[in-house]
């Protein structure tokens, strides 16, 4: 697996957010995107994922040296971010089942229980997402992201809203996935960007 960016740039109207970002990541490597508030960390993540169109340059997702198709990218990418919302009027388990179906997976009750337990939400799968605390919501986003067994995992402020227990779970997850995944983390927390093998500093 490979993720590479070539001279990637993004502007909104006249305002340049970032330019000439180039890097290449192989399976097992990770990139920490750091920079002050407003420096474009989230914009870079969304541009890499394909939710924003770059103003310049290109990015490539490859598997076995072949570019991934649009559907392949969708099924191999996961994103966890504070601005990402799940469905308020669906329960935790229903959210999991819905996104599993979109990802071409069929999730049994036992499997969803196991995933929920993995992120510390055992026994809360039947509760509506809107009744979750912000930390629990963040945990469910991890559950949705991880059930795909992502090849490319994008984390924006990965431990925001999480208590010490939640942060511990995230670190464990990152350690477990590190070997099989390409990881991109947007953060300013020293403890988080030290987990990455490469670093991209924005806002200079």
């Amino acid at each position: 697996m490979q993720l590479s960016a070539e001279k990637l740039g993004k502007r909104f109207g006249q305002r340049k957010v970032f330019k000439d970002i180039s890097f290449s990541l192989q399976q097992g490597e990770s990139l920490a995107v750091t920079g002050p508030n407003g420096s474009g960390k989230t914009t870079l993540l969304l541009t890499l994922i394909g939710l924003l169109r770059p103003s310049h340059g290109m990015r490539f997702f490859k598997e076995n040296d072949s570019p991934l198709t649009e559907q392949g990218i969708r099924r191999r990418i996961s994103l966890v971010a504070p601005y990402l919302s799940l469905y308020d009027y669906l329960s935790g388990e229903e959210n999991l089942t819905f996104f599993a179906t979109l990802g071409g997976l069929s999730l049994t009750g036992k499997e969803s229980d196991r995933i929920l337990e993995q992120v510390g939400l055992a026994g809360r799968g039947c509760d509506l997402f809107r009744t979750y605390s912000s930390g629990m919501k963040q945990r469910l986003k991890y559950a949705v992201a991880l059930m795909q067994r992502p090849g490319f995992l994008f984390l924006d402020e990965p431990t925001s809203n999480l208590d010490d227990d939640g942060k511990q779970i995230v670190r464990k997850v990152i350690e477990e996935l590190r070997e099989h995944t390409i990881l991109v983390i947007a953060t300013n927390e020293q403890g988080e960007y030290e987990l990455a093998t490469k670093r991209c500093q924005l806002g200079n």
Partner: protein, 220 residues
């Protein structure tokens, strides 16, 4: 793609059953406007042309009142982002279109029943009228679902939805009014075959165009 589309459709039904935002918005509007029309008309005998026009005016504004919610809800709840990330755009459009068809069909059953109860519309050409209504539901949903996706990320969505929908819907509305007039007057199928063909062609064109354009509307 079909499995994903049905997942989106089933999810929207579940959300609607739990929140009832769209159904309540459209039903309240259509029932209130139909009641106001029936009170204002009173005992006056209306021509089939006027009855057909009134029916489709109510249906048009009912569609404008609620069919955009299917995409606005995703944007306002912040769930559009993960849906863009996870689902095939064509599956999203198909799921949303099916949901709008179901929602508007429920509203149409209520409005049509009340329309025949509250006005002196003749049930003589009922079968033909119902055929026109079914084609009307499909053509209104086909056009408004794509417009809903276009306006969902804009500000002043409600006004924009009505403004953008009107020019696209004027053609089918004219055909629907003309066909309804003949059907309510007890006309034969031969008299309305032309507008029925027109409505069928319009729906096919709108659905095809929607599937071709939606990717750009949704992802850009």
């Amino acid at each position: 793609m079909v499995t994903e589309a049905f997942a989106v459709f089933a999810k929207d039904i579940r959300l609607e059953l739990r929140s009832r935002h769209a159904l309540n918005a459209i039903l309240m509007f259509s029932v209130v406007s139909l009641t106001v029309v029936s009170f204002s008309v009173g005992q006056a005998e209306l021509s089939s042309r006027l009855l057909g026009s009134l029916y489709w005016v109510i249906m048009f504004f009912s569609a404008v009142a609620g069919l955009s919610l299917v995409f606005i809800r995703e944007e306002e709840a912040g769930t559009a982002l993960i849906l863009r990330l996870r689902a095939d755009p064509a599956a999203i459009l198909l799921g949303k279109l099916l949901f709008n068809l179901l929602l508007f069909s429920i509203v149409t059953v209520v409005v049509t029943t009340l329309f025949f109860l509250l006005t002196d519309a003749s049930a003589e050409g009922l079968a033909l009228f119902l055929l026109i209504v079914a084609l009307g539901v499909i053509s209104l949903c086909a056009a408004t679902t794509l417009v809903a996706a276009i306006i969902a990320r804009a500000s002043s969505k409600g006004a924009l939805f009505a403004v953008l929908s009107f020019p696209i819907l004027i053609l089918p509305l004219m055909m629907l009014v003309a066909a309804s007039e003949s059907a309510l007057a007890g006309g034969a199928f031969a008299e309305i075959s032309e507008p029925i063909q027109g409505l069928f062609a319009y729906s096919v064109v709108m659905i095809t165009a929607s599937f071709m354009l939606f990717r750009f509307v949704w992802l850009d």
